[in-house]
Structures are given as C-alpha cells and as structure tokens.
C-alpha cells in the first residue's frame, strides 16, 4: 500500500507540483481515508523509490585505481560521472548510463580471451 502512495507522490512531483504541495495533497488523502498512520512508511517507501530512480539515471564510472578516474571519464566521454573504485577490474573502466553498461575493463577483456580459448 505504502509503495503505491509513494509512487503517486513521485508522479505528483514529476508532474510539476512543488514537494510541499504534493505532500500536503497526500496527507489530505490519507486523512480522508483514515490512514495517517501510514505516513512514516510512505516516507520510507518514497525514499527507496527516489534512491532507485537516482541510481537509474545517475551516470557511474568504475575504475581500478582512483588515479585513473580523470582519464577514464575522458575516454568514456562522461566527465560528470560519479566515480567508484573496484581494484578487481585490473585496469580500464566500466560505464553505466541510462541502463546501458559499457564494460571496457581489463578484467572483462581477459575473461573474454580466456573463455574463447578454453570453450572453443
């Protein structure tokens, strides 16, 4: 139930209402139905939904070493991407943007070579 209310809240904000107006409208509806007690759970669900939406839209680049970040951002053409470090990548970068993953890490390339050599 709280998830549905949270989704409506997101849609209200996306449709142009200010957050204050959207929350006021939601509270009014909850009051009308005697469901004010749901409000904290709706807030948590909204938080989850918003963070998932942010994760989906955020451009992220993963590099093996922090020092490689700038070069990787340049190479991937995503200078404003959020950078994370994963040393298991060995080198190169992984870019995730709008639900598309471009994996240019050395780990991926080495795995491809290994699988082609062993599974052929």
């Amino acid at each position: 139930m709280e998830q549905e209310y949270a989704s409506v809240l997101v849609r209200l904000v996306e449709s142009g209402k200010t957050p204050k107006e959207a929350v006021a409208a939601l509270v009014a509806v909850l009051k009308r139905h005697g469901r004010e007690a749901l409000l904290p759970r709706v807030a948590r669900a909204f938080e989850r939904t918003a963070s998932r939406a942010a994760l989906r839209t955020q451009t992220r680049i993963t590099v093996a070493r922090a020092a490689d970040a700038a070069a990787a951002q340049q190479a991937a053409g995503a200078t404003d991407a959020h950078v994370t470090v994963d040393d298991s990548l060995i080198g190169g970068w992984r870019l995730e943007q709008n639900g598309i993953l471009t994996d240019n890490s050395y780990k991926r390339h080495l795995l491809d070579i290994y699988h082609r050599a062993t599974r052929a």
């Binding site: 998932r52 639900g99 598309i100 993953l101 471009t102 795995l111 491809d112 070579i113």
Partner: protein, 522 residues
C-alpha cells in the same frame, strides 16, 4: 596450464580487438526463494534469458571457472522485471548487475540426446559427457496451426491389451493417464515406451520421458528399466527431480516438448510422457505466489489452465507439407482419493483427447493395469485403431461394462438364469485376459490373436484362475508355431479370413497340446 592452451591464449591475444558495446543492464533489488526483483531492464521481453553478474568485486582468478547464473524473465513491471533463477540462487546477491541477452530460453536438441538423461535446461546429468553439437529449440513456441495439422489416423501401440483394445491412442493424440498415487500410472507410460521397440525402426517413435518433481531414486529405476528392456536407445529422459528448484520443475515439460519438436520437425513421430503435471502445477503455483501474481482457486494463478493447454496443444500430427511428424502426449495427473473433479484434473481432462482412469480399488483387487473402463475414453483414437483390433475388440467395452453391472447384481442374487451365468463367466475370463504384468507389453498382433481366441470361446472351459497362465502359454505357442500369421497381422493391420483360419487352427492345436488346462465344464 598445458602448452596447447597457452598457444590458444597467445593466439587469442594476438588477434584481440577490444569490443566495448553497450549492454542493457538492471540491478537486483530483492532476491529470495529463487525469485529475483530487478530494477531496470526496460527493454526486456517475456521469457527472455538474463545473466546475473556474480563475479563483481572478485579477483580475476576466482571468476575464471565460475559458471554463469541465468535467469528467466516472467513478470514485466512498471519499474523493472521479476525473474526466476535457473541455477544456484545463492550466488545472486542484492545490488548485482543483471545483463539482458535478447534471447528467449531454448534447449539444445539433437540425435545425441537419445539414450541420455538431461536436466530441464538440456544439460546432460548422466555423467556421459557433454554433447558435441545441438540445435537450440525455443522452450516456448506457438503450437502448430490448424492448416498445418492432419487428423489422427496412425495408431500408437502401447502394448497394453486393455488400452490398445478399448482406449486406442493415435499418433498426435493427447491421452491423459489419471489416478491416485500407487495405481500404476507411471507403469502404463513406461510400458508404452518399452513397447515401441516392437515397431519397425523406420517408424518407431522417439520417446521422451519427463520426470517432474519425482524422487531421483524412482527416475534412476526407470532409466535402469528402460536400459534393461532395450528401450533407452530411442528414449530421452528429462529430469527435474523433487530436489530441483521450482523453476526447473515448471520448465521441464516445456523442455521435453521442445526436444520433441526438434524430431517432429524432421518428420519423426515422438511420444512424450509428462510425469506428472500435478507437480508442475504445484511448482508453478509456488513461483506465481513468489512473483506476487494474484492467487485464484486453490491458490493457483489465473493462467494455470493456459499453462497446461499451451503445453499440450504442442502435441500434433503435422501435415505432409510440414514433414508429417507427430508428437503424442501422455500427461499424467495424480488425484487425491479418486477425485477426478478437482481443479487441475478437470482442467487437464478438458484439454486432452481422452483419459485412462486408474482405480485404486481395482489395483488392490489385483487387476492390473487397474483401468476403470467406464470412466476411460479415447476421443480420437478410434480412427487410429487398426481394422484387426477394431474387428476383435469392437464390443469389448460394452461387454465389460455389462459384466461390471451384472457382477454388482450377482452379489445379491441367489439364482441366475443360464444366459446371465454365461455372460458373467465370459466377463470373468475377459477380465483375466486383459490383466497384464508390469514391464511386459505385448506386440499388437499377439493382442489381436489372444482377444480373437477369447471372443471365440477358447477360454470357456478354462478355470478363471488359470486364464492368465493359459493366455501366456498360448501367446508363446503362437510366437513359436504361428509366427508367419502374427507377422502378417502385424504388417497389414488386418485380420483376413486366412489369418482367422490359421488362428482357429492354432487354438485347436494348442488345446490338443495342452489338455491339462481345459478341464472345467463350459
């Protein structure tokens, strides 16, 4: 690492050009009981295979030999999808990246699968090594349309007298085997598979036995039985045992029919046994509830009927333009306390072209196969029955039904008129004739000869307790002395006047050779 592999790796490195194509990805937001909620994957389609990235954050050497974990998309939702895990669900963690493959689920099929045991994804599980080359067959495929079908007209001999005589099955038919637990449902299906060895190799159906939610010990016993009977060579066993994830138990029948379609498309006849669809329905109910689909009657999802109808519709006899192949389906349903009016049994009864109903009472009385003739029917098999069998078994069902009625009446009646007594005596002997041992299917010609002899009062002066022994001895006698006549019936499917004369002569000679059997007054 051996030198050959090192050379291969060097060759790969020399020819390496990095590919950095984008892949559609999503992220696991929840995982439990083999079902995964995925955020993203906006372009995913139903039944698409997805790959879970299980090596994220792990060192290269730890991910080299790791098997990929696949999933199957079953729910498309507003912000993501829900999928079932087709492997080790413990390796899928929250936050893991999920890659789209753009492919719908398929299983590999080829002649290499004959004599092998595979899982619901087509991977060999009998320890005999991997397959060299297989052809991918989609697990979900639309059934052949009306114009590509031909009516059922070629018999599929089960080797079981009661079935071939009274509930005949044709190639391309769907005949349900239904009954309580322990009434011999699997035995009937396995005997039908074993009996195919009596068919000429050119027209012998490929058999596929799909074990769903069965004990592994039972499946192992069946494989051994098929091997000992010389039937494994033309049989493929698809196993999703009781310990297999619900996802694989749900998929196994579809994998079985997909493999069958490979052979049907090549113009071959195929017999598929689904043992059993009740357990598949239970597995599908489990998945549906975990996928948060609304529960309906008995908590089954709304599309439980469609689950079975779309599976069984894939059984067909194709037209000559399509190669003339066929898939005959023998689904099995387990009832509770003989209740055939429960939800799943009524669904499958209405989908199939007839049912063989096995009764626990008859089984416990020693009547095996324990077929309830009154409730069993074959809606299309009559057209496929050979003329020889039709000629000898035409009135059998009616005769047995009348006998059952008289038998019930006999319990209260003291004096019986001569005609009724004769009818009861004849019925008792016919019931004995139709008894058959487990794993001993009879060739069609022998069945015809035995039923012909029984119809012609051959057994009227044999004690009821001796009928089974006399019938077995007579079958052996025919095999040894009148093999030409049997071969003629088998080949033509007809019982000609000459064949009848020969069978009459066989009866006379048998009576002379074995007077000890014929002692009771007629």
């Amino acid at each position: 690492m051996n030198t050959a592999l090192i050379e291969k790796v060097i060759k790969e490195i020399e020819g390496f050009t990095p590919k950095t194509e984008g892949e559609h990805v999503g992220r696991v937001t929840a995982v439990g009981d083999g079902v995964v909620a995925i955020d993203g994957l906006a372009d995913a389609v139903m039944s698409e295979v997805v790959v879970f990235e299980t090596g994220a954050g792990k060192r290269l050497e730890d991910t080299l030999e790791a098997e990929a974990v696949f999933g199957l998309v079953l729910n498309l939702e507003e912000d993501g999808v829900r999928a079932i895990v087709l492997g080790d669900a413990a390796r899928v963690v929250e936050g893991a990246t999920v890659k789209s493959t753009g492919k719908v689920l398929s299983v590999g099929a080829s002649e290499e699968l004959l004599g092998r045991v595979v899982d619901a994804l087509g991977n060999p599980i009998d320890g005999k090594g991997p397959f060299k080359k297989t052809h991918p067959m989609p697990v979900e495929r639309e059934a052949a349309g009306v114009i590509y079908r031909k009516h059922v007209s070629v018999p599929l001999q089960t080797g079981i007298k009661a079935i071939d005589a009274m509930i005949p099955i044709g190639r391309g038919q769907r005949e349900l085997i239904i009954g309580d637990r322990g009434t011999g449902k699997t035995t009937v299906a396995i005997d039908a598979i074993i009996n195919q060895k009596n068919e000429p190799e050119a027209t012998r159906p490929i058999c596929i036995y799909v074990a769903i939610g069965q004990k592994e010990s039972k499946t192992a016993r069946i494989v051994q039985q098929l091997k000992e009977a010389g039937a494994l060579g033309y049989t493929i066993v698809v196993d999703a045992g009781a310990s297999a994830p619900a996802a694989l138990q749900f998929l196994a029948p579809f994998a079985g029919v997909a493999i069958g379609e490979y052979f049907m498309d090549k113009g071959k006849d195929v017999l598929v046994v689904y043992d059993d669809l009740s357990k598949q329905a239970v597995a599908y109910r489990q998945l549906s509830l975990l996928l948060r689909r609304p529960p309906g009657r008995e908590a089954y999802p709304g599309d439980i009927f469609y689950l079975h109808s779309r599976l069984l519709e894939r059984a067909a006899r194709l037209s000559e333009e399509k190669g003339g192949g066929s898939i005959t389906a023998l689904p099995i349903i387990e009832t509770q306390d003989g209740d055939i009016s429960a939800y799943i049994p009524t669904n499958v009864i209405s989908i199939t072209d007839g049912q063989i109903f096995l009764l626990a009472d008859l089984f416990n009385k020693g009547l095996r196969p324990a077929i309830d003739v009154g409730n069993s029917v074959s809606r299309v098999g009559g057209d496929a029955q050979t003329k020889a069998m039709k000629g000898v078994a035409g009135g059998l069902k009616l005769e047995l039904a009348q006998f059952r009625e008289l038998e019930a009446f006999m319990q209260f009646a003291q004096d019986l008129d001569a005609a009724t007594a004769a009818q009861i005596a004849s019925g008792q002997r016919m019931v004995e004739v139709l008894k058959q041992k487990n794993g001993a299917p009879l060739p069609f010609a022998v069945q015809v000869a035995v039923i012909y002899a029984a119809n012609n009062k051959f057994l009227s002066d044999v004690a009821v307790s001796q009928v089974t022994a006399v019938e077995a001895a007579f079958a052996s006698f025919l095999d040894a002395q009148f093999s030409d006549t049997l071969a003629e019936i088998q080949k033509t499917g007809l019982l000609s006047d000459d064949s009848k004369k020969e069978l009459n002569r066989a009866v006379e000679e048998f009576r002379l050779a074995h007077p000890e059997f014929f002692t009771e007054n007629a």
